[in-house]
Symmetry: C3
């Protein structure tokens, strides 16, 4: 099963991480490919995120979850790529990533 | 035509039901497979819903619309499954349901 | 690449147009089929939209972006079709359009 989560508002992150944890518990981490794409103000959580959110992301990353950040959004919010947590993948444009993943069979979810 | 509506905020329900009514009027109920998946606080409408919302759901259910509730969300909100309206289907995890339906060709809509 | 943007809240328009501009800059306008479907209060931007939004839409329309309005939503908000900007396409029901486009391979994005 393949799932792409789209986050463009910072307050949605706790909900997104809860959704992913429930999903993984239901299907097993070996049975799911999961990517989170943050664009717009969604990227703020990567740089100004509360430590408990970052820790949850790190743990999920250890289970194979991909955390992506839109470069346009990072630039717009003056976030330097070097300051991002090491588990974050920067993509040139969040929308392109979302379109490509859906074309590759990922379900789209907007929590 | 196959459509999955995702509801995770209680105030979106009137909009969701209006969307479904307009959709059915446009295409005819015999030509559409429709499922609504409520997770997060979206499930509150099933237990604390205003009676006019529940009545609209009941009527749509009579036209074949499936109303699903995420068990994780029910537990989190202390909603007992026995207290749900009879037309509600409980699924183990809302996200899994959303992913599976999209894999089965359902369009995703987040009103 | 094919992308459908769904707008049902008027304040999301600046974000939608920014997303589309970034997407087109990333992939090139010759490589993307883009449609925006406005329903609910999303259609208000077509009639009461700030001129800078309308101008951005016009420019994107010139690059091939389709801007659609749900007729049910226009009726509900008492917007006459003759008063819409010429670049707007009216569709009988926004949800039907969204379902059909996804069935035709368009990725769904809700900014």
């Amino acid at each position: 099963m393949k799932a792409l989560f789209h986050v463009n508002e910072p307050d949605r992150w706790p909900r997104v991480l809860l959704n992913i944890n429930n999903f993984l518990r239901d299907v097993g981490s070996g049975n799911a490919s999961i990517e989170v794409v943050a664009n717009g103000a969604g990227v703020l959580a990567y740089s100004q995120g509360k430590q408990d959110l970052i820790k949850q992301m790190e743990k999920l990353h250890g289970q194979g979850v991909v955390f992506a950040a839109c470069r346009n959004a990072l630039n717009m919010h003056n976030i330097s790529e070097e300051n991002l947590p090491v588990f974050v993948t920067v993509v040139p444009a969040g929308i392109t990533e979302i379109v490509q993943k859906q074309a590759a069979g990922y379900a789209y979810i907007k929590p």
